[in-house]
């Protein structure tokens, strides 16, 4: 039983050793350098926005197709 415990201990030590190659070897999602800030959400278009878009498209098409 004691032999088994010691062998288990060695296996655990080896596992620990092989998993500590680099201090920054973490999955990117958990890295503090991967943190980012939430930005404002885009909004749906209003009638005024749609009109503005149409005006932009109209002006462009008329100008470049002269």
């Amino acid at each position: 039983m004691k032999k088994i415990s010691i062998i288990c201990l060695i296996i655990l030590a080896m596992a620990g050793l092989t998993s500590c190659q680099k201090t920054d070897e973490l999955a990117p999602a958990k890295s503090s350098e991967a943190l980012k800030y939430k930005m404002p959400e885009p909004t749906r278009l209003t009638d005024q926005d749609r009109q503005k878009l149409q005006d932009i498209e109209k002006e462009y098409n008329e100008s470049v197709n002269k």
Partner: protein, 474 residues
Amino acid sequence: MMMKFFRNNKYLYATLFVVTLVLSSCGEFLDIKPYGKTIPETTEDYNALVSDMLLGIESANEGAVRSDMLFLGNDPVGNIEQYCDNMEVSLTELPFGRNLRYYIGTFLGTISASTYYREYYRVISRCNIILDNYKDGRDTDEGRQMVGTCYVLRGLAYYQLLRMYCEPAGVGSQLGVPIVTDFDMEGKPNRSSYEDTFKQAESDLLESLNYTIDEKVNLFSMDVRKALLARLYFWVGQFKEAKLYADEVVKSHPLLSGEEYGNMEKATDKLAGNMLLRCDVTPRNTHAPSYLNESLVARPLSYHYVKLFAEKDEDIRYTLYFDKKRRNKKIHFSGIRTAEMYLISMECAYHLGDTGEALTMLNNFRAHRISDYTPYTMETLPVVDETENIKVDCTGAKLTPLMYAILNERRKELYLEGDRFFELKRNGRPEFSVIYNGLKYTTEKFMYTFPLPPSDIQINPAIKQNPGYVEILY
């Protein structure tokens, strides 16, 4: 009992001992100072560090630090233009232009917002190592050249941190960035004041003027260093000093016009015309203007930009910069050229109260770009277009026709050179919206100032984040 147990298991214990030894020698995990890095010893060692940063700017390599970011580089210049108002986001041809940026929030809401910050501090850290530790050979010509170069690089890094990560001069919290001038791996400096960050950049660049740098083997000629000082003073609103240095540069690198100007603008690499410095002077494939323009043409230039060319074909830029469908033809440029210095001097003259000189300079500049040019008088200057995004100048004053014309000339000339975003920031940080793929995205005032890396604030909670950046996404 214990001894018996040990004797029976001595091989196992020997194995455990060896494992413990190996574990304790694991360099990266249990290392102490200098954290696996060594301080260089010889002039050659130090020179390699400096050369690496200079080659990075020329884009011959990416190096261990991204020194190319000190001048943005071709690719970022194209990206940052896409966040501004010179191109018409809503007319982006999809799916061809799906890789184009459409709103600064898409940059600020990613870890890329911290990239410039980290890379600038990597440059600063490397310069600090050299300035702190390089002793033998420091007084030789080669040594002095290296030291002078480090002052330029560090000053330039602080200048860019001031532009990107601090609010513009005269508004907001007036916080600067942490100032690091020693090589200390364990230091956790807080943010300095805006004034102190400016002074750090200023003292580094002024100090660099005391060193002779051979411009045949180094990017930072005396005129480049003066140009960088002009940019710094201009950004913080010290117009007298900005004009002084800008004028000196213009004196030795006069404005070009006609064919000479056209040839410079068409140059895809190398120094041409009156360029003083060019980042990406030997661009890698992915930084080549022809490669970058393949996607850029999916978005036409905006009406508001194109209408500034009232003289149309008589303005050499009208045909050089875009085609009949308003698709980009201009070559990406990241660096320093005379036109910017002239425009700085022109605006400084205005802010210093000499509107006569500002108008004369404006007319001279336009005469170099427009054939058969008829000079403006104060009476014939175009009226201010109230629908434009910029409505006040950098002092907060409402635009006059003269200031409006000066800013327009800068907007036209420095398109696709990484300038417009910072012009918007410098002149009132206007909020504006774009329509993209059926949604409306608004560039808000706070977005002109990038967030400090959230990880730095976690390490040192005393560091105050810029306004607007509240909720962290994990």
